[in-house]
Every structure is written in C-alpha cells, then in structure tokens.
Symmetry: C2
Subunit: 458 residues, 2 copies
C-alpha cells in the first residue's frame, strides 16, 4: 500500500517561499489599478456583512464560549457582538462567523473563499496595531494574492483529494497579510510563511458541520500567530512551500509553480473574486436569477400555472430536493430556491428559514416547478419558461447569473446584501454607517470608527 | 497531473471515530496492568524533564514572547518558567519546549513522540480543572493510545510522504485526553475528535528549525481547543477520521483500520514508549553506549591508541560528520558523540554545547576513531574494539543499545537524565522533589504540589 513519494518529488522547484516573502514586503502600497483597489473594498464589505450576519449563530457562539474559557484579554472587536477577545481569538471567531452562512466571497478558479482567513486576521491585528485603512487594504490584497496563487498552483488535485482549500491556503494568506501589517523584513516574512505552511486546516468531509466555518477561522488564527511568532525570531524552513517534503508536494500531486510567480505584482487574484447574491450553492444561482427576473416583470406567484426550468443534469444531482423539510435542505433544493426568488425577489439567509421552507404557499409554488434535464445547457446557465394562468407564457434565459465574473454583483446589490444580513443585528442606520465606512476604508486613519460601528448599541 | 483520489477511496471503513470516542469515554480508570501504569509515569517524567530543560531555549522564548502579545490570562504553569499564560498557550509552549532538544519519548513503530502533544495539553487543562493525578494518568494513557493507534494505521506512507507524524496524530491524542479530563459524553468526544482531525500540524521539511518543536506544541493546543469547543456544542463530521474525504484517506494512501480497533482497551501503545538516553539521533545510540561501557571499565581517553568502530552504512550516511564545528553538527557526528560518551560517560544536551564540540581534547579523541562500514551489523547495533597505548585491546558489542525496547532506560537512568536537564533550571533539590512528585502522580489529589515545583524559586 505504501506510496513512494520520492518518485514524483520535484527537487528543482523555484524558491517560491522566498519570492512570495519578497513580494509581500516590497510591493508598493496601492501598487495596483483602481479596479483592484475597488475590488478590495468590495471584498472587505462583503466579508464584514457575512460576519455580522452570523454573529448570533450557534457556531459562532459555541466557539466564543470555548474561547471565553481562556479568559482572553479584551483586545479586539467581534463583528456584530459586544464581547471583546484577544486578537488571535478574534481572528478565529470572525473567521467562523463570516463563513457560517456559506455566503462569503469566492475565487472561482480555486473555489477558495479568501476573505474569511485573510480579512479576519487583518482586522484583528490592525485594531491592535492601530494600522491605517491604507495598510489594511494593502495587507488584504497581498494576503489574498498569496492564498489564491498557492491555490492556483495546487488546484484541482489538492481539492479533489479532500482538502478544504479555503483553510489549507488561507493560513498562508493570513500570515502574509499580518507580516505586512507588522512590517516584518523579508527574512521574518519568509519564516512566517514557513511556519504557516505547517498548519493546513480543513477537510471537505466536514461540510455540513460547524467545523466547515471553523476552517477559515482557524486559518486566520494560525496565520496571525505565525506572523507574531516570526516577529519574535521563530524560525522555519526557508523552502517550506516548495521543498520535496514541503507544503505543496505533501498536500498535492499537482503543483504548477508558475501559478505562484508569473505576473506577480501585475495580476492580482482579488480581481477574480466574486460575491454570492444567494445564500446557497452556486449551481442554482442562474435558476434563482431567472425567477427574480420574472418577479421583476411584475409576475406574481398566484399567476403561475407551471414553470418549465431547463438545467444541466448537475443542477439536479446536487440540488434536486423537491420537498425540503428545513432550511438546510432548502439550500439543496432548486425548487425552494426558485420559489423564494419568485416570491421575494431574493434568496438570502432569511429565505432559508425552517418555517419559511415549510410555509404552504412555498410548498404549493415548488410543486408548480417542472425541472427538465438538458445537458445542452451550460452548468452556469438556466432556461425558464413561465406558463401563466391567463394562457400567456414568458421565457427567460440566463447565461451568466448575477454574481458571476461576467455579471458581477453591483455595489448596490452588495449593499442590499449587507443590509439583509446586518440590519437585524446592528439596526438599519448603523448598518448604513458601517457600509459607508467600508467604502472609504482605504482613506481611514485607523479602524476605530469602523470597529465602533461593528458593535451593537446596548 | 491531477490524481483521482476516488479510485483508491475506501467507502467501507469501520466507524473508528465513534469507536475511539466510546473507548475514551468508557474505559475504566486505571483499567490496565501495573506495567502500563508505571510506563505512564515514566512517560510523564521524561516529558517534564525535557520541557523544564528547554525552558530558556530561544525557541521556547520566541513562542512565549508571541503569546505575551495576546496578554494571556495567568491560568496555567509553564515548565521551568515563572510566567503563567492561558491554558491553551501553556499547552503550546510546554509542547514546544518538551521537543526542542529532540530528547523526548519515542513510540518506535511510528516514530511518534507522543507525550509532547498529549501531556502538554493534559497538564494545562488539568491545572485549570483541578483534576486529580489519577485523572491525569488516565487521560495520558488514553490520549497516547489514540494518537499512536492512528499512527499505526497510517505509518509508514503518511510519514514517507512528508508529514511530521508527531504533530499530525498528536492533535487527535490531545483532544481525546482533554475530552476525558472534561468528562465529555460520547457524542461530544466524537465531535472533539472530528474537529481535531481537521488540524494536522507538521511537515518534515521543518526539521532543523524551530517549527519542528512547534508541531507537538501546536498539536497540543489544537487538541485542547477542540475538546473545549466540543464541550460548548461545536460539531464536526462523526466520520471525520475514516470517511473517503476524512483525515486518514486525505493524509495517507495506506490506512490499516485494524490498527485502530484491534485489542482496543487490552493492548496499550504507551507500553511501547521508549526514552532517549542520548540527545541525538537514535542511529548512533549503540555506538555511544559502547563507549560509555568502555569508560565504565575504567579506560580513560588518554589510554586510547585507536578505536575501531564497526557500524551499518546508514550510521555514517546520517551521522558521518568527522569534524563538527558546533553543537548541532555534533549531533550528526558519530565521532563527537563517541568521544563524549568515552570522556563523560554520557551524551546529554550539555555534551552538544558549541564550546565543548570545539575543545582540543574532543577533537583529538575524534581523530582516533576509525569508523568502518559493515552492513552485516544491524542498524541498531555497534561493534567497538579499543586499541590502547599499552598494546592491549578491549572488545565491546552492543546489540540492543540502552533506551531500546529490549534494553530500556531504567528508572534510575531516567532520573539521572531529568537531573541533567533540570538541575540548572530548578536546582538539584527542587528537581529531586519534582521527580518524586512525578512518581506518585497517579495518587496525587491534584497537580498543585507538582506544578509549584515546576516553577523556579525567585
């Protein structure tokens, strides 16, 4: 059974650990286009909304209760909560809450959700250091670049074999973002990256449990601590990423080093970040989008005789649950998701509430949906024909769903999503003020104003 | 390049996550032989001596300095130090110091150093909970059993591909020891094990850097936190160890499930724990043993004309450095190690001091050693012939070096090792009192007396 890993070992890998450390230390502040700069703000905004929204979820609260057993110092803010904890624990907790609804950002090429590990570590450390908003945005862009570039190097084999790639590259990104905030030199930064490389966190087997959102949280914490330890002289292998027994070759049989160093400092992976409009798997987004468009034409649920929905077979394999019994099952039901889109014009976390899923009108509408497998339709598309009670019919074709690279969430939609997540936690006006702070983060002297708005008023 | 892991996936693995959780919860206190009970005390003693000995090492101090940035609560004792930190950080720091000298225990079948992750987590949590010594020994035996059984399941493929198995099974053992201390029920214990399974820590590429001892420390911390989180309701996959995308199948292509559940509760892996007599790689222990025996015959270095040392080729491949320049190189020199054994009758951490390695008498003695490759000699043996200046010669054959399973360290030798590590930190009399506490740990009402003796007097 034993596998001789030496057979496939690459002893001539380029020194990417060093290359990435030099990049993180030396790349100029805001050394990228306005589009990249704006995307960084969108990434932060979307991440923070998700973190606030799940502040009271049982996964966040269970982790917080465990952290409280350590009697942590009140160093850092928790999104949407009044408690304060030490900065490493804050990275953990905010990372957990931001991924709890599966509603955070997605780097589509690798399925990495990069903000969870990176932004969670950055916000906690930046509060402690008093970093400027400029430094925060720089750290976020660079940290996400490292995580996603390493992900590009390993994907898909690394993911296919069972690693939850968000947490197994996130600690690298978080360590580099924190090294940048701490202004470590190249050697220290390289040591931080090496130490982080020993701590990949996450198995896909955990999907459906609280340990899934633990992965980005744990990665945020591990990355932050790696940077702190390196700042105090802790050492690691200077070739921790690329050596034959280093990170990449241990966790994957595919490693394309050029993904790490090509166009480094020119192409930024945060440019390819996307944001979910709907709180469910991305495969049913085109179908929901079509139903939202139908609603926006003024068509109401009671006018529907039958909905013919043509989709790729994968859609029904993954989300073909016709009679979901609770919110979680609703997320795996293209039927419920479409009913929500047609009824409410959205499918956020609230539309996957247990009670809503079991409401009579939703059940009735689901039964009017006739899903038809058609593999001539792309997995990322949907074809909807609504037959109305008055005999007319309406056809809607979605080739690029809202939230895709080709049809990104607008800033307005992102703000609407933030409100839907945060209003119940922080109130509408405080939420709006927090959103405003997010848009001007890069110009803020420090995070104080933003952080104050993350905390519910007593 | 992509590898289809589904080809080799085992979809019919036994439910070992559940089996281990039930074992840890239900196995009776001290439900094993007196020999196992005594070995547990030896394991704890050896671990604590190593941890005290490296308290002031730069790796321990760098990690502690980083932890201090979190302003930790003063919950738990650090071996050999006056500072106190939160219990999770204490698990980390004590785990680092206990492995820093590479002088801790070894489960030879898997090369796991099990006490580092398990005892470090246990001591920190037990102090917080006020656990009895009985509970501590029970947790230690059970935690080590889980770590080593999972190691047996995965070894050697898992190790061969580059994982540092001490840190990649240690978090499992630590989580189970802590679950036992916390008296979690079977479900919570299973969740703790699952959460720990997402956090394997350690790459062999890190050997020779501070990140190597970080691995057991990080594993201790991860295991402790997994148990705390599970105690607060955090969930994980109930099949986290055995599922196709669970821990074992993701980190290894060899998994022999019977190693986990066969003779569970009857055979205890701690029985197979061994302790290093010499602070260097195990491959040169037989040669040092032969030189110590020569010294014990009354032969002095100045009487030596020539030493003919016949060893397996592997010994010189790994430790053939004839002219080491510092202490670390000395650890990879069978010549220096033998010279130390002959001169001082031992080869502890002190005998790998930079200055000592460069002393003229050591250099001269090294040059008198004639190492001869002889592959008819076992890797674990050595054959020494000393030719003296008076024309006589003495022959010593070591087939089972001191510290091996066949020729274990006696309790007296373990105490001598403890003194050599601890006297400079805690003083001789306090060290002896601490040793006495270790031998009676299983009967102690709590750890207070032992922990008070771990702290240097001001």
């Amino acid at each position: 059974m034993a596998r001789n890993t030496q057979v496939s070992a690459d002893h001539n890998a380029p020194p990417v650990t060093r290359t990435l450390a030099e990049f993180v230390v030396n790349h100029p502040s805001q050394g990228w286009s306005d589009a990249v700069e704006h995307e960084a703000h969108r990434t932060f905004l979307n991440w923070l909304g998700c973190a606030v929204g799940a502040a009271h979820h049982e996964s966040t609260q269970a982790a917080l209760a465990a952290v409280q057993m350590l009697e942590p110092a009140q160093q850092a803010t928790l999104a949407g909560l009044g408690e304060r904890v030490d900065m490493a624990s804050a990275a953990l907790i905010n990372g957990i809450s931001s991924h709890t609804f599966d509603f955070d950002d997605t780097h589509l090429k690798t399925i990495i959700h990069p903000a969870g590990p990176v932004a969670s570590a950055v916000m906690a450390l930046a509060e402690h250091l008093g970093s400027s908003g400029r430094e925060v945005i720089d750290a976020l862009v660079l940290g996400i670049d490292v995580a996603c570039r390493v992900g590009n190097c390993l994907y898909p084999d690394h993911y296919d074999r069972g690693w939850h790639i968000t947490g197994t590259t996130g600690m690298l990104g978080a360590s580099m973002a924190c090294a940048r905030l701490l202004k470590l030199d190249v050697h220290q930064t390289q040591m931080a990256l090496g130490l982080a490389a020993s701590q990949p966190i996450g198995l896909r087997e955990q999907f459906g449990t609280m340990t899934k959102p633990f992965h980005p949280g744990g990665a945020a914490r591990a990355g932050l601590m790696s940077a702190l330890m390196a700042s105090k002289g802790f050492t690691s292998s200077p070739k921790a990423l690329e050596a034959p027994r280093g990170f990449a070759q241990v966790v994957s049989t595919k490693f394309d080093w050029s993904e790490i160093d090509s166009e480094l400092g020119k192409r930024f992976e945060i440019s390819f970040n996307t944001y979910k409009p709907f709180a469910c798997g991305i495969v049913i987004h085109p179908s929901i989008d079509a139903c939202v468009q139908l609603k926006n034409k003024g068509i109401k649920p009671e006018q529907i005789e039958r909905l013919d929905l043509r989709v790729h077979s994968l859609v029904l394999e993954l989300t073909g649950k016709k009679e979901p019994q609770d919110g979680l099952q609703g997320k795996f039901s293209v039927y419920h998701s479409c009913a929500a889109g047609l009824t409410f014009g959205r499918a956020g976390e609230e539309e996957y509430d247990d009670a809503l899923v079991n409401r009579a009108d939703m059940q009735a509408l689901r039964r009017k949906i006739n899903a038809i497998v058609d593999d001539s339709i792309d997995e990322a598309a949907a074809d909807l024909t609504a037959h109305l009670t008055d005999g007319t019919s309406h056809h809607i074709r979605v080739d690029h769903a809202i939230g895709s690279m080709e049809n990104p969430m607008t800033d307005e939609l992102l703000m609407g999503k933030f409100h839907a997540l945060s209003d119940a936690v922080l109130g509408e006006s405080q939420t709006q003020a927090l959103i405003d702070q997010c848009w001007t983060l890069g110009k803020a002297p420090n995070l104080k104003a933003l952080l104050a708005l993350c905390v519910p008023k007593k």
